[in-house]
Symmetry: C2
Subunit: 190 residues, 2 copies
């Protein structure tokens, strides 16, 4: 499948088959795709912690995402991946200070998306989770102080009866422009 | 090519054939891939402005990236794309305020990377540029005040004699971990 098809196949999957584990070789493939992501001054500010050990995973579900109503579905996920950013001293960090653009967050977005797209290609479902208890996560996993947890990514196979939903996006001419922000991109509406 | 091959094919291309224009149909393909990126609460906070009109492009090169030594190569690019973030009021923005994680920057990183990966697949070279004159860009293009320019992306065909460079990345066991940050991902070194 070409990249556009892959992008269309990616969905926020909120239903998992809890009895079908994800082989670590496949998780390694996703991590490898993330590893190759670009970053400002090649700083590679992302850190991934893959949680698949059953008792720890249960605690993450209960203490870090549990009780948050929008995330109840996450209880079925056989793997939860923590994405954190680490900001080190260096050229990229210097640039951030001068220009007030936190490149490391954009870079972590790229790397997380690489992980997710490779998972999609391997037939795995994923979902970005932004609502979770940061302090509980820090404590439970013993994250280094200079790591900033940004997101969780659920990972697993979808149940046999899972159906993709319709994708809702703004038409291109609302977010893309030609030469000036006053000229919407000249495309037909989808 | 599968996603890992695509990710490996992507490089920061800093040499362009200035005489080979990029058809707008191909730029539209890249924008479409970006449009389908995921975002917190589907907020789609990215805005792309494609600059390919020759006199405006020259001004962007001279006034926005010109004179910055690391970007001299950008003078050859036949297209420069501005990526900006717009932060609107909504659930995603509320979440950011509560959790102090600027999701919209991660989302823009994802969308920009979608753009770049589709361009790579179409045989086009790209490079993320983080060093540029934000105020000069705002003024020249008349960007709305609530848009925050994050990056420029150069776009074009590489010269016939262009050679890819070696890719330098940390090995996986320095950025990925299993269940705890004290257990490096058990992979062979590449």
């Amino acid at each position: 499948m070409d990249f556009t098809d892959l992008v269309k196949a990616r969905q926020s999957v909120r239903a998992y088959d809890p009895d079908r584990p994800v082989p670590r070789e496949l998780i390694a493939e996703c991590l490898e795709a993330a590893r190759l992501a670009p970053s400002a001054c090649n700083s590679q500010p992302w850190r991934f912690v893959v949680v698949d050990e059953p008792s720890l995973l249960e605690r993450v579900k209960r203490e870090v995402v549990g009780g948050l109503v929008p995330n109840r579905w996450a209880a079925q996920a056989p793997v939860i991946v923590v994405l954190a950013a680490v900001k080190e001293l260096g050229t990229a960090s210097l640039g951030e200070g001068i220009k007030d653009i936190p490149y490391h967050l954009m870079d972590c977005g790229s790397a997380g998306e690489h992980f997710i797209l490779r998972a999609t290609e391997l037939g795995l479902g994923t979902c970005w989770i932004g609502w979770f208890r940061i302090r509980a996560l820090r404590r439970l996993l013993g994250l280094p102080r200079r790591w900033k947890p940004l997101a969780l990514i659920t990972l697993g196979y979808t149940p046999a009866d899972w159906q993709p939903r319709q994708r809702l996006r703004r038409p291109l001419d609302e977010t893309a422009f030609l030469n000036t922000p006053r000229t919407p991109w000249p495309s037909g509406r989808d």
